[in-house]
Amino acid sequence: MARQSAAIEAMLRDPEATGVIVVAAPEQMAVTEALELRRALHTRLGIQIEAVVVNRTVSSPFKPGETRKLAALDIEDPAVSSALWLHERARSHRAHLARLRGNLRGIPCIALPFVFAGLGDLEPLGRLAERLDRSLP
């Protein structure tokens, strides 16, 4: 048992054999946990993570001038509310992503887009895979 445990541990600690990718979401708690995990792996086990992948990142299609125009509209329109909500969510995601990147000091951080359609069919999954394939070290 001791021999086997030692072999497993050696494999996990061998950077040639095992790479660690931390997966997070662009939210406060998830970012904090990703940073804590990275620190704990480093200080307690001597493992340096390869990258952080941030899943479900919403981005906004709107320029600042456009959202100002939307916010200034005096009509109550559900589509306009949706647009402003999306923009606000993207802004919050950007802020959390910035905090993560600022604390990762050089470790690659890849943001994957939120898939609104869900992963019911394979097409969006394929796009996420391509994106990872291009960006991972």
């Binding site: 406060q28 299609p61 709107f62 509310s81 909500w85 999306l86 606000e88």
Partner: protein
């Protein structure tokens, strides 16, 4: 009086449970605030609040005992707190240490246990001590006359049920045959224990073993105390004045977990006092992209109107996804309607945000999401 106020009126303990990352801590703070506003003396036990929430509650540093939350900023935000709101952040290690201190007969034994390597490992890992500490603290506070109601935010377990089984698991470990044999080695047991110890020595080396032997000797004395405590805690959890408030997001995995949790609570004969769906997306009447473009083009121009229509289309996909999940949840719960809270797109910033969330929680939440669900079913 809102539906939630009614359901919580008779509760002395409200345990917020659910998957991690659904906003459980924030929702428990809003629930505690609402109960305090109604005039009750409330203690909120949080596990690991985000910095902003901690600041909103005035919890500047980790403190293992409830402190009064300043009501001035709450009043400024427009909510009069008729009762009292107290809040604390749980320090699992300290709670467990305090429990051991209370159960040990003398200071010498206490110090020996607290500094023992095996004890440190045991509380850190084996027993799921965060879960146990949360309930131990709850039990301690429930016995104090200072509070009418306790609101507990549960730890982010891999599985929300770990929390429920924590006392049993610790109890089970202590009751376990292996540990008993090692603790009180007599007759055949003594020989068996000797063999086990010899085998362990070969695997782990000598130092740890000496610690283990010392730990078992010291811990034996307080086993009865811990056992009684486990039984008391179990009784507290099953009292009718203890209620479980299930918190979930509308995403499929947390909803699945909420349904599972509700079933497990029912099976264990524990009392459910409500379900809150956090970060739901209100559905609007579905409009085709071209229709939205035509409607908004005069005010926004064609290009921007098209972008807005596309954004709306995506957000509506979320609303539809939520409606499906919510329908599943309503079907599974059958006896109650979940309270839906809107996804606010940004994090909680200050007391005013918390007050607003509290209004939504006690104002029965969003009506739209349920309407969408009703329309689809």
């Amino acid at each position: 009086v809102s539906a939630l106020s009614r359901r919580l009126a008779a509760q002395r303990v409200v345990i917020c449970a659910g998957a991690g990352g659904v906003g459980k801590t924030t929702v428990s703070a809003a629930v505690a605030l609402g109960l305090a506003a109604e005039g009750r003396r409330v203690a909120l036990v949080t596990i690991d609040p985000a910095r902003r929430l901690a600041e909103a509650l005035g919890l500047g540093r980790l403190d293992n005992d409830p402190r009064p939350v300043n009501r001035a900023p709450i009043a400024t935000a427009g909510l009069a707190v008729k009762g009292e709101l107290w809040a604390m952040m749980l320090d699992a290690q300290r709670t467990f240490d305090e429990l051991i201190a209370r159960l040990t007969p003398d200071p010498w034994t206490r110090e020996e246990i607290l500094h023992n390597r095996v004890y440190q490992h045991l509380t850190g890992a084996v027993t799921g001590s965060h879960e146990y500490a949360a309930i131990a603290k709850l039990f301690e506070l429930a016995r104090r006359p200072d509070f009418d109601v306790l609101v507990l935010d549960t730890p982010p377990s891999r599985n929300a049920l770990d929390f429920l089984h924590a006392p049993e698991r610790l109890g089970g470990l202590l009751e376990g045959r292996a540990l008993r044999v090692l603790l009180a080695p007599t007759g055949y047991g003594a020989r068996a224990a000797g063999l086990v110890v010899a085998a362990l020595r070969r695997i782990t080396g000598a130092g740890l073993l000496e610690d283990l032997a010392a730990f078992l000797g010291l811990f034996g004395g307080i086993l009865d105390g811990l056992r009684t405590r486990s039984a008391d805690v179990k009784r507290l959890l099953s009292e009718s004045s203890t209620g479980f408030l299930i918190v979930t997001s509308p995403e499929p995995a947390p909803v699945q977990e909420a349904i599972f949790l509700a079933r497990e609570l029912d099976r264990a004969g524990l009392h459910r006092c409500g379900t809150i769906v956090n970060r739901a997306h209100p559905g609007a009447a579905h409009a085709a992209v071209l229709e939205v473009v035509a409607r908004l083009e005069p005010a926004l121009g064609r290009e921007l109107a098209a972008k807005v229509a596309e954004a709306h289309e995506e957000v509506q996909r979320l609303a539809e996804r939520d409606a499906v999940a919510l329908e599943r949840l309503e079907l599974a719960l059958s006896d109650e309607l979940p309270i839906c809270l809107a996804d606010r797109a940004r994090d909680l910033h200050d007391v005013a945000d918390l007050v607003e969330l509290q209004r939504e929680v006690f104002g029965d939440g969003l009506a739209d999401v349920s309407r969408v669900a009703a329309r689809q079913s």
